[in-house]
Amino acid sequence: MQHKGNEMTAIVSCKGITKVFGKGELAVHALRGIDLDIMEGDFATLAGPSGSGKTTLLNMIGALDHPTEGEVTVDGQSLSGLSKSALSDLRLQKVGFIFQAYNLVPVLSARENVEFVLRLAKVSVAERRSRADAALAEVGLQGMETRRPSALSGGQQQRVAIARALVGRPRIVLADEPTANLDSKTTGELVDLMYRLNQDSGITFLMGTHDPRVMAHSKRHIEMEDGQIISDTRS
């Protein structure tokens, strides 16, 4: 799959995605026929007011939910008809998630949280240790590997979440309001970090956000409203 005007590969492809919650008069059309390709190396933001469908679209792309109509393809693999177990495997191997509210497992240390996805992927002990420590060092948390989330600040926890999203070497990182709970200084640091990872390592990011500081770094800005994409611009 090729993007118009350049030779980049589409990591994610959405064709005619519709999502309807509820039935009859109570039906809510969260997504209305979305067509979207996310290209390899994109640092894209998905913006729009609350209820515009950003999170729903991210859930579709992340194989966390399935569309009412249409087809999502991730790294060339259609999600239609995949079992729950196969969807879990796909998330594990191809998608990294960064959520709004840190979302670390509280009983695991920073290193164990990062290692968790590697353990699920059955990576050897030595390799997962070195990869987890490297990922934590990458996000500036060297020396904090054994701390539990309760002993880390909000910004540090979100850094751990970023390290966890990256350590499995996913094809795309989906971030839903990743800076919503952070102060401006920490937000700036994290956006810089994600941008650097995108620039240096070519990791594809798709971020749902309201935050202008995040959008300022964006190379591609997708605007949504009422379940539809109203603009898709590159800078």
Partner: protein, 408 residues
């Protein structure tokens, strides 16, 4: 195995996220199991003690009679002394003790009262080995030999007859010729057993009694004991083979009430265990449902990260396995500690009057049967894990996106 290594530490740490709740569940499981083990050992000890006390008093573990004697125990239904074949079977190592008795219905009379009794003519030398009556004398002496024509009577019977040691009573028994034979006996000993037994049984020398009623050397019964109750059925079979014309029964058939009590003791343990299991199940379901509902968001996160529904089921089930397993281990330790702490027996002599109704010994020796120590903990553990499958299944069914929407 890799999944177990991934999930086991996580499950263990999850248990201690809410230590108070975990401790309460451990308390419920361990105290529940402890109460079942303690109850089982207490009831077993009680049943054993009651059974031993009753069998040891007069019944013994089995008896041999002439056919029809038990239906109508009169002088027409006596039997001869054991022949060589039966004697060989009774003297085999499988039989630890036996004693021949002449027991007939009689009337005892004092200056004040006349009461119905059973007179038992005994051979003291054999009786001492098989019956606890000689140990229960509170006044006087036991019979010195089969020719001893003294009478050993119960404490309560002595009170009712208003007689005492050294005084004479008259025993009236229907003789071989059908006429009522009567003879006076010196009261040489008074024993203290339970009231009903004291009121019923009067003991005298066997030969003296045979002479009185004119039955030669005939006897009414042979009581016998075996070293192990488990071997009783086999011994009864071999005695029946040796004396096919005689009525040979074990204690369960001789005293149906004692047999029923013995069987109902086990049933009461199982009833108690059922009650405990229901309580433990409610506690475990409640705890695990709360633990699941509190972590719905986290399960969504884990699913989003790639954990499969089966992993979530395994994780929550593993938490139950560990939680209930730990509770069961603590309960087993408490049960063992209780039995060890009471290894010198529970002295119930302060309740001796109340115990009389149950025919129990005054000191109970607790013991947990090895099979109970395996079956009860295993049953509670398996049931606890089984009921916790429901919350685990609910956790596994949660859609990741719905779970992620759930407030943390």
């Amino acid at each position: 195995m890799e999944n177990f290594r991934l999930l086991a530490p996580l499950a263990w740490r999850n248990l201690w996220r809410n230590p108070r709740r975990t401790v309460i569940t451990l308390f419920v499981v361990s105290v529940g199991l402890w109460s079942v083990l303690a109850m089982a050992s207490f009831i077993t000890a009680w049943a054993q003690s009651s059974r031993d006390a009753t069998l040891r008093l007069l019944l013994a573990q089995g008896q041999i009679h002439a056919e029809g004697y038990l239906d109508n125990p009169n002088i027409d239904r006596l039997m001869d002394r054991p022949d060589a074949t039966l004697l060989a079977a009774l003297n085999a190592p499988e039989v630890s003790n036996w004693a021949a008795r002449l027991e007939l219905p009689a009337v005892v009379q004092s200056e004040y009262k006349t009461l119905p009794v059973s007179v038992v003519g005994v051979v003291p030398e054999a009786e001492i080995r098989i019956s606890s009556v000689p140990e229960k004398l509170v006044e006087g002496r036991y019979l010195s030999g089969p020719e001893d024509d003294g009478a050993v009577i119960g404490l309560n019977l002595a009170k009712r007859l208003k007689t005492a040691l050294g005084r004479r009573v008259i025993l009236m028994i229907t003789g071989e010729d059908g006429w009522l034979e009567e003879r006076s006996f010196d009261v040489v000993g008074i024993y203290d057993a339970d009231t009903a037994f004291e009121d019923t049984y009067v003991f005298t020398g066997q030969t003296a009694m045979q002479n009185m009623v004119g039955v030669g050397d005939k006897i009414a019964q042979i009581a016998f004991e075996v070293p192990q109750d488990d071997a009783l059925s086999g011994v009864v079979d071999s005695l029946r083979a040796a004396a096919p014309t005689l009525d040979i029964r074990q204690w369960r058939d001789l005293s149906l009430m004692l047999g029923a009590m013995d069987a109902s003791m086990d049933a009461s343990v199982y009833v108690w265990m059922s009650v405990m299991m229901v309580m433990i199940s409610i506690g475990v379901i409640n705890t695990q449902l709360m633990a699941v509902f509190e972590r719905i968001h986290e399960f969504g996160l884990l699913r989003a990260l790639g954990l499969k529904p089966g992993h979530v089921l395994a994780l929550v089930t593993l938490e139950s396995v560990l939680l209930i397993g730990l509770g069961v281990l603590i309960g087993m330790a408490m049960g063992a500690a209780t039995v060890w702490g009471l290894r010198d027996g529970i002295d119930l002599s302060a309740f001796s009057q109340a115990l009389e109704a149950f025919k129990s010994g005054e000191v109970l020796y607790l013991e947990i049967k090895p099979i109970d120590y395996v079956i009860f903990p295993l049953a509670i553990w398996l049931l606890g894990v089984l009921v916790a499958l429901w919350p685990a299944w609910r956790a596994a069914k949660i859609s990741p996106v719905e779970a992620m929407r759930h407030a943390t």
